[in-house]
């Protein structure tokens, strides 16, 4: 045995310096036994790696996301996404996109996020913001009504940091957007479990909102939702 098992292991792992690597590569020519030993290392590596790949699809518990300030993430959306991921390998799980968008604000530029043609939200420099149609509703519609049939605004409130925030439902999504830096930034976004049936307007923080959205509002609302007059006044100052 000219080459030790450790050397062949390092070769299989791509850890050898160029000279030794080239030497083994040429030794492999026509040496079936050497080839078999290298292949065994590679096969074991692949097998172990593959055995643990599935764990990456698991949604982390909320308490860990909380440590990172990642806010409420809808398990509904996450589970839907996991199912979708099994069908088509997406770049990043949706729980990640949602958690990161809520947690990080402007810097998460590495997230590619495409919710499809009826999205209502869009990614801008890594921040999830309302798209044009949702933006219009958020800036002008009174709670309980939408411009056209969708999106609809549920309620308006001040967050603990003083931002103007509104809950909304838009096609299959529900969420909260807050006015920040001249745009409506999505604070939390969740899939509505039964999008077809639940599309009515929400006049209050109503029980139809997904728990993740309700929870986010409850955690962040400063006092009570704005009444109609206060809401009109606040919206008139949205630029």
């Amino acid at each position: 045995m000219k080459y030790s098992d450790e050397t062949l292991m390092a070769f299989a792992d791509g850890e050898l310096d160029a000279a030794l690597r080239a030497e083994i590569e040429s030794a492999l020519e026509g040496d079936a036994e050497l080839e078999r030993r290298v292949a065994a290392h590679r096969a074991l590596r692949a097998r172990v790696h593959e055995a643990y790949a599935g764990e990456l699809d698991e949604m982390p518990p909320q308490r860990l996301l909380d440590v990172l300030g990642a806010g409420a993430v809808s398990k509904v959306a996450a589970l839907d996404d996991l199912r979708a991921r099994r069908r088509e390998r997406a770049a990043a799980p949706r729980w990640l996109a949602l958690a990161a968008s809520v947690a990080i604000g402007a810097t998460a530029g590495y997230l590619a996020f495409d919710l499809g043609p009826r999205a209502q939200v869009t990614s801008k420099g890594g921040v999830l913001v309302a798209d044009a149609s949702l933006e219009k509703s958020l800036s002008s519609a009174a709670s309980g009504e939408g411009v056209g049939s969708t999106p609809r605004i549920g309620m308006t409130y001040r967050s603990k940091s003083g931002a103007l925030c509104r809950s909304f439902t838009a096609s299959a999504l529900a969420g909260v957007a807050c006015r920040d830096g001249g745009e409506w930034r999505i604070r939390v976004l969740a899939q509505i479990a039964d999008a077809g049936a639940g599309a009515g307007g929400y006049r209050t923080a109503g029980s139809e909102l997904p728990p993740a959205v309700r929870g986010a509002i409850e955690a962040d609302i400063d006092g009570e939702p704005l009444d109609a007059a206060a809401e009109r006044d606040a919206l008139s100052r949205v630029k």
Binding site: H49, A51, E55, P60, R63, L64, L65, L68
Partner: protein, 170 residues
């Protein structure tokens, strides 16, 4: 919404790393709840020490090291009762015939659980997490020669458990 948070980039990357951090922690302690406790401790420590991390350094290695140190603290705190992973559960699948994929995957984890801690940590960092030897050695605070020998022994043991030498027809 904080947009100028100096930790924001690190937090963004940590959110993305969470699944791998949990996976590594579970390879150190089998009980998933204990593993998440360890990850939580490590995240809190990382945020406190965020100034020590430089953006050109690998955040995964840095975090694995913090987790590994949190693990050592736990082991010390609990004294020698620290074999927290559940060998009976984990070992249940060892020796099952590898007839289908499901069984195959289970037995890799079961075999891993039977490795001595040092070898399991080395195998986990290099084969599961894909760290280069140098990074893995750094995480475990050992010379690279020690890392490679643990890795080689761990692999040998795994191979023996997963592909036992056949004595007759199978």
């Amino acid at each position: 919404m904080t947009t100028n948070d100096p930790q924001a980039e690190m937090r963004a990357q940590l959110v993305a790393l969470l699944p791998r951090l949990r996976r590594f922690a579970r390879n150190l302690v089998r009980n998933p709840h204990d593993a998440d406790d360890m990850v939580q401790t490590a995240l809190e420590r990382a945020l406190l020490r965020s100034s020590q991390w430089h953006t050109d350094a690998r955040l995964d290695s840095w975090m694995f090291k913090i987790i590994r140190n949190a693990w050592i603290d736990t082991v010390r705190a609990r004294g020698r009762q620290a074999r927290v992973f559940a060998p009976e559960e984990a070992g249940a699948a060892v020796g099952d015939p590898v007839m289908e994929r499901e069984a195959d995957l289970l037995s890799v984890q079961a075999a891993m659980a039977r490795l001595p801690e040092e070898q399991r940590a080395a195998v986990s960092l290099v084969l599961v997490e894909g760290l280069p030897y140098k990074e893995a050695a750094e995480v475990l605070d050992v010379p690279i020669g020690t890392l490679t020998s643990r890795l080689a022994r761990g692999r040998e043991a795994l191979k023996a458990m997963l592909d036992p030498p056949r004595e007759g027809a199978s």
